[in-house]
């Protein structure tokens, strides 16, 4: 069993003179929730379609679930909820799931209880016998989610799964993603909602102008740790020791307002290699008898990362 459910190197797709995807290189691990971020028009949907075998790449190579792109046996272990999700609207919700169960080659005795369980999970049991055309946008998205999970996939692609959902619906999607993760399903999440990605994903990659440009782990802090310190006046050697542990982003000597002749207070913000530096910094300050008022880790928000990575591309698309 390979460790990666998706491995892509230099995937490229041209439609005539237009290059939709320039260089897609990424690796998604088994069982992780992977966020795929980028502005509109960055080539995210085409990238997903290539990985699913719906669009054949112009060049580059990739393996999904250890098989070449589009492999039929591998497709049995995939789930997919497309963006702007549309279905055979004249089918009822239950019929749609039955149809997909047949496409998956599931025997009826296996699929029937699974369909009922999924309908119940996405809270559509009451509407299961109604044609999909009568569903609200949120209900369509939920039946789509059930469809994507029907084959008990090892890897599921969710393209904007919460678009059109109210907060309760969003929570449901988030819960379902967590459930799947604990069962070892890898989730490839394409979403514009950065807060949601931050809450659900283990790792994200940024796509800019058709190329994957930056990868970021959201759990293991790594280089992303920013430490904020508020302390009394720091002797030069202490200050030098702290500064040597990272890169200063901001350092200022300020007076506490309205405290009369109170000692100067220093604020220092610096980026350090990892979290283990934080107690070291605290020891250096307290060890010299300098009062330490506050020391905290300020993680850079995903939104800040997004804007940094995208630069000019971060404009509304």
């Amino acid at each position: 069993m390979p460790d990666f459910v998706i491995e892509a190197q230099g995937l490229r797709k041209e439609f005539g003179a237009k290059t939709a995807v320039r260089d897609l290189s990424l690796a998604v691990r088994r069982g992780e929730v992977f966020g795929f971020l980028g502005p509109n028009g960055a080539g995210k949907t085409t990238a997903v379609k290539m990985l699913l075998g719906l669009v054949s790449p112009t060049s580059g190579s990739a393996r999904v679930l250890g098989a070449p792109l589009g492999d039929r046996a591998a497709r049995a272990r995939l789930g997919f909820l497309p963006e702007h999700f549309r279905f055979q609207e004249w089918l009822t919700g239950r019929e749609l799931l039955r149809f997909h169960a047949r496409l998956l080659g599931l025997p009826r005795r296996d699929s029937a209880p699974r369909i009922e369980a999924l309908l119940s999970r996405v809270d559509l049991l009451d509407a299961a016998n109604r044609p999909i055309r009568t569903y609200s946008k949120g209900m369509m998205q939920r039946i789509g989610l059930a469809q994507a999970l029907l084959g008990d996939p090892e890897l599921v692609f969710l393209d904007e799964p919460t678009s059109g959902l109210d907060p309760i619906g969003r929570l449901l999607v988030r819960d379902v993603i967590h459930e799947r993760r604990t069962r070892g399903t890898a989730v490839f999440l394409n979403s514009h909602l950065l807060g949601e990605v931050e809450a659900t994903c283990d790792r994200v990659t940024f796509v800019k102008a058709g190329a994957t440009v930056h990868e970021l782990s959201l759990h293991d802090a790594g280089e992303t740790v920013e430490v904020e310190i508020r302390a009394g006046s720091l002797p030069d050697d202490v200050r030098a020791a702290i500064v040597s542990m990272g890169r200063v982003v901001d350092g200022a000597r300020v007076a506490t307002p309205g405290a009369g002749a109170a000692p100067a207070i220093e604020r220092l913000r610096l980026v350090v290699a990892d979290e283990s530096r934080v107690p070291e910094i605290a020891r250096a300050i307290v060890g010299r008898g300098v009062p330490l008022y506050e020391i905290k880790i300020a993680r850079k928000s995903l939104e800040a990362w997004f804007l940094d990575v995208m630069g000019d591309e971060g404009r509304p698309g």
Partner: protein, 282 residues
């Protein structure tokens, strides 16, 4: 049953179900029913006239009834062609355009099975429609006029072949073209074959080789109309054929090789559709 064959039948089953749920089949059935009612009323009136006139011989009566029945079959044939083109015209292009095809195509099913399943499902619907309309015309002729045309055992299978030609063009075109373009192409080809066939008939009648040859070439390009002419010529007695005084009595009938040509044509057009769909970005 292997999963591959299961895929074709799953898609065919869904296609049948879709046809039953959608309004187009209902509309076609209503049009067909209206046509059969009209045909029945016309037939009753004609039979009353024919029966009441002592100057009309039995042979003349039979010729008249045969012409009437052929006229009915001709109209039924037009409705069937309309259905053959319109029913599946958006089945691929529409689902590609809306994205509905994506969730189907990522399932462990071969792309060609999607096309073949849709073809099979639509063929079953179309064949049922054809059987209903042609059966209706023939039943009314038998009931009201006590007349059954000859040569049905050859004529009817030929009509099925003709309908299959148009159905296949419409489905295969949808694998590559948009819905409107595809519909225009299929009807355009039908119109071309229709005009060219009349050029061939008139050319033959007047001995104009050029007109006749144009007709033959177009029949090779789109063999639907030529097959209908073969079917029509089978479904009338030799005397009516020889007289050639009705629009349903062709002067020039293609050779039996046209049947093989049409069968091969269906296979090639379908293969073209499969290939287009296989390569298409969905």
């Amino acid at each position: 049953m292997t999963r591959a064959r299961g895929g074709i039948f799953t898609i065919a089953h869904l296609t049948l179900y879709e046809a039953l749920r959608r309004r187009i089949l209902l509309a076609a059935l209503l049009a067909g029913a209206a046509f059969l009612v009209l045909y029945g009323i016309g037939l009753v009136a004609m039979v009353r006239d024919l029966g009441g006139d002592p100057k009309i011989t039995l042979i003349e009566k039979r010729v008249a009834l045969n012409m009437l029945t052929l006229a009915g079959l001709y109209a039924a044939n037009l409705l069937v062609i309309l259905m053959a083109v319109l029913l599946p015209v958006d089945t691929l292009s529409g689902e590609i355009g809306s994205g509905v095809i994506q969730t189907v195509a990522v399932r462990p099913i071969r792309r060609r099975d999607i096309v073949l399943g849709k073809w099979l499902g639509h063929w079953v619907v179309l064949s049922s429609y054809l059987a209903l309309l042609f059966g209706g015309v023939l039943a009314l002729s038998a009931l009201i006029g006590r007349f059954t045309p000859p040569g049905l055992e050859i004529g009817l299978p030929l009509v099925f072949l003709e309908a299959t030609v148009y159905l296949t063009i419409s489905i295969a075109g949808g694998a590559r073209l948009g819905t409107v373009t595809n519909g225009m192409l299929a009807f355009g080809l039908f119109g071309l074959a229709f005009i060219a066939n009349w050029m061939e008939q008139i050319g033959t009648m007047l001995g104009n080789d050029a007109a006749q040859q144009i007709g033959t070439v177009v029949s090779l390009l789109i063999p639907g109309e030529a097959i209908w002419q073969m079917a029509a010529s089978q479904m009338q007695p030799p005397i009516l054929r020889e007289l050639g005084n009705s629009p349903f009595s062709p002067f020039s009938v293609a050779s039996p090789a046209m049947i093989w040509w049409a069968a091969g044509y269906i296979v090639v057009v379908l293969a073209f559709g499969l290939r287009s769909f296989q390569r298409r970005a969905l």
